[in-house]
């Protein structure tokens, strides 16, 4: 059995901080279908619409009937580990710095071979395994052979595969707003997941919110002033803790209901943009450079950036029209942030929850997500090596409708058909 992760010793300040290296990130366009699915935590392969044959590696035409109608479909990943090796020599720096690597060839029951990383828990070939897809540090899909009955969250049990995750265990985390019910839930969930230290941002100290004071009792927590609408506040905090933060969790948001006609003026919408969009921008400008610089800083390196967005970022929900727009803006900006952090191996994770059981979604009909459920999804996203998370039934439903027919979803939402 693998050794459980142990908190590393304090870093020797004289030792040079290593620069990040990445596994090879080059993929053909068609192979990015695997990445698209892995980003959502799914293992999908192309399946021929005409003859049903499963395909791998990704390709343009069916290996059996030559049909060009190949569609990505979820796979159960079950198969047999036929052969394996332990690589002791590697061509790429990323692998060379982490030798040895256990790699295997797996025959899926679906009839194709995949080359995959093999989890330490898997016994020697031949044996039954289950393939899962996760994002590697280059942000591309990597296939992993797991012991048949184990769940995905075992990635962290394997020291090599742990690097694919952003496991909060032992890490120092900034939660930008710890005061909202969602922020409080996030802090508690991260503390329970073994975070080493959580800085809890507080924008308005005069505001007393139930439950917030209790966070001071958490041994790993530290409340710090942080107001995302104030560039100076963001910079001051970055100056103090920026070089220590391993994970940024941006929970700060400003949320009001209504669209265009129900309000006069733009002040509310401006505030939404100030927090949800410009706040993210200020935060990214202040904290991203230090994250990049520490992306290879040992076993508790800087590793992830989490944005709590909203499913309304995907398609405008007129009843929360200006809020939707601000979240769409934040979503778009997060893609820039991802493009800038990916070369360092720092993952940008976006959460797109449906309506949350809080004050500003009061009039939304159930099902609604409890803040704790969003927080649990956040921790799972960090552990599971994914990038796009749609927690809850409503978010899943919207996503499915969006992927199926984005225009239809727009019409449905405009008719109040949530």
């Amino acid at each position: 059995m693998p050794e459980p992760f142990k908190r590393p010793k304090r870093k020797n300040p004289i030792v040079r901080t290593r620069l990040p290296t990445l596994p090879p990130g080059l993929r053909s366009r068609v192979a990015l279908g695997l990445t698209a699915a892995a980003a959502r935590g799914r293992f999908e392969l192309q399946v021929c619409r005409d003859c049903g044959a499963v395909q791998y590696p990704p390709r343009e035409v069916c290996r059996v009937c030559l049909s060009h109608r190949l569609i990505w479909r979820p796979q159960d990943g079950r198969g047999e580990l036929l052969s394996e090796t332990v690589l002791r020599v590697a061509q790429e720096l990323f692998f060379r710095e982490r030798l040895p690597w256990r790699v295997g060839m797996v025959r899926l029951d679906a009839g194709v071979n995949v080359v995959a990383y093999v989890h330490e828990n898997v016994s020697d070939a031949p044996c039954r395994v289950r393939i899962e897809a996760a994002l590697d540090r280059a942000g591309q899909a990597a296939l992993i052979a797991l012991a048949d009955d184990r769940r995905r969250s075992v990635l962290s049990d394997d020291p090599k595969l742990r690097e694919m995750t952003c496991d909060p265990l032992g890490r120092k985390i900034l939660v930008t707003d710890g005061k909202s019910v969602l922020g409080q839930a996030a802090v508690r969930a991260l503390a329970a997941a073994g975070a080493d230290l959580i800085w809890i941002g507080e924008a308005e100290p005069w505001k007393k919110i139930p439950g917030f004071a209790a966070l001071r009792e958490l041994s790993a927590a530290k409340i710090v002033p942080l107001d995302l609408t104030d560039g100076r506040s963001v910079q001051v905090l970055a100056g103090e803790i920026g070089a220590k933060v391993d994970i940024v969790v941006n929970t700060a948001e400003y949320h009001r209901t209504f669209g265009i006609a129900a309000r006069r003026g733009v002040e509310t919408a401006q505030l939404e943009m100030e927090v949800n969009y410009f706040g993210l921008l200020r935060l990214a400008q202040a904290f991203a450079p230090a994250l990049k610089a520490r992306a290879a800083d040992g076993p508790t390196n800087a590793i992830a950036w989490v944005n709590v967005l909203s499913i309304f970022a995907l398609a405008n929900y007129p009843a929360h029209g200006t809020y939707s727009a601000s979240k769409a803006a934040a979503f778009s900006l997060s893609q820039t942030l991802r493009a800038e952090l990916r070369p360092a191996g720092v993952r940008v994770i976006n959460l797109f929850p449906g309506p949350v059981d809080d004050e500003w979604d009061q009039l939304e009909l159930p099902p609604k997500l409890s803040p704790a459920a969003v927080a649990a999804a956040l921790v799972a996203a960090l552990k599971d090596s994914v990038e796009d998370v749609y927690p809850g039934d409503v978010a899943q439903d919207w996503l499915a409708r969006h992927l199926d027919n984005a225009k239809a979803l727009e019409r449905e939402l405009s008719e109040g058909n949530r």
């Binding site: 596994p23 090879p24 990130g25 080059l26 993929r27 053909s28 192979a31 791998y56 590696p57 990704p58 290996r63 036929l82 052969s83 394996e84 090796t85 332990v86 690589l87 002791r88 020599v89 590697a90 061509q91 790429e92 990323f94 692998f95 690597w101 790699v103 295997g104 060839m105 025959r107 071979n113 995949v114 080359v115 995959a116 990383y117 070939a125 031949p126 590697d136 280059a138 591309q140 990597a142 296939l143």
Partner: protein, 387 residues
């Protein structure tokens, strides 16, 4: 319909541009030297060569076409054969038909590559779309990964031991020591083989071919042409090639030879018993064993027993990779697919550089190439006969 035989097609003028571990030259240099050596060996003017088959991994951005201008040759028949370790065999097949039909009179078959310190990584990273998408990102082991899978599977399935592979490698080294152009100059003991450093379990250092720079070449023509030129030659008795054989086999435990072996011997008019020596494609020893089996020297799975029952030096019970093979000479990229061919021509024309197989009349040369994803896709073989 029965295939047309190769009648009076012959191979002549084997040349080797000396192998070096690394070179600052480009592939054009090695291929150009090969052509220069070919016309010198055949004592012909450059203009007499009217056909060319070219194999190289490092010629990019050029192909065989660019090489014609680079070398200043005017050809009426040209082929680029991007099939790695099978390129030499495939070049023979194509050139043979060209000279038979009169499309060309003298075809230069050349294969070669340069090798820089970073070449192996570059080649492995971009070897094929499938390799780039689905193999290289898993540890960047290149062919070591793929052959570790095949070797491990073969050992488990057929009971081969490390000592079996080691015996082949040691015998090849013994052959190589007599070959002045081999890059490996020191004897290899079984102990050294068994205890070498691990590369990709179960593969250790001496299981893995050493990339280098170099080129090999030979001429294909009709017998009459060779006789007019006064060139020693060998006859092409039979030839096979196959691509993507047995796609449903979960792991490659046999190559395309198994499909075409009977036809090879039928066309040659002789059986495996009458083969005096075998030159296989040997970037890793397991693939030798597949060739023993699939080319009819022993049954499937009997490779280990076959190895234990034979000696493989040039003067042994089963003369094999008599120049030392790639594992002891070096792998000059695509030239690896021609190493066995030039050696077989030398053996059968009495021009050996090193160890000589006594009274050899027939030699079998096989090729294997292109680990596109999880297996080698190209296989081929020729039977050559002394004049």
């Amino acid at each position: 319909m029965a295939r047309t035989g190769y009648d009076d097609v012959v191979l002549a003028a084997p040349v080797t541009v000396p192998y070096v571990r690394f070179s600052i030259k480009s592939a054009h240099w090695f291929l150009g030297r090969a052509v220069a050596q070919l016309i010198a060996a055949a004592k012909i003017a450059k203009a007499r060569i009217d056909g060319m088959a070219v194999a190289s991994f490092t010629l990019a951005p050029d192909s065989a076409v660019g090489l014609t201008q680079h070398l200043g040759v005017t050809l009426r028949w040209l082929d680029h054969v991007p099939m790695g370790g099978a390129a030499g065999i495939v070049s023979i097949r194509r050139a043979a038909r060209a000279v038979q039909s009169g499309d060309a009179e003298i075809v230069a078959c050349i294969a070669g590559d340069t090798n820089h310190p970073d070449s192996f990584r570059r080649n492995a990273a971009a070897f094929s779309q499938f390799a780039q998408d689905a193999v290289y990102p898993y540890g960047s082991g290149g062919p070591n990964t793929s052959f570790a899978f095949l070797t491990s599977y073969y050992m488990r399935t057929y009971g081969a031991a490390r000592e079996d592979f080691g015996k082949l490698c040691v015998a090849q080294r013994s052959n190589a020591l007599k070959n002045p152009s081999a890059l490996f100059k020191k004897p290899l003991t079984l102990d050294e083989y068994l205890n070498a450093r691990l590369i990709a379990d179960p593969l250790r250092l001496f299981d893995c071919v050493m990339p280098c720079a170099g080129a090999d070449g030979f001429l294909v023509m009709r017998r009459q042409t060779a006789e007019q030129l006064g060139l020693p030659f060998v006859r092409l008795l039979a030839a096979i090639e196959r691509h993507n054989a047995f796609p449903e086999d979960p792991v490659q435990y046999r190559g395309g030879w198994a499909l075409d072996c009977d036809e090879l011997y039928a066309q040659a008019g002789i059986g495996p018993d009458e083969i005096d020596f075998l030159e296989t494609y040997d970037d890793y020893p397991v693939i030798n064993v597949l060739q023993f089996e699939d080319l009819g020297f022993c049954a499937k799975g009997e490779g280990p027993a076959f190895i234990r029952a034979n000696t493989f030096e040039a003067n042994g019970t089963f003369p094999f990779n008599t120049s030392g093979g790639q594992l002891s000479v070096g792998q000059a990229g695509a030239a690896g697919g021609s190493l066995g061919i030039v050696e077989a021509i030398r053996q059968l024309t009495g021009q050996t550089l090193g160890a000589r197989v006594a009274e050899a009349r027939h030699g079998l040369v096989s090729g294997f190439g292109m680990i596109n994803y999880d297996r080698g896709l190209c296989s081929g073989a020729v039977v050559l006969g002394a004049a």
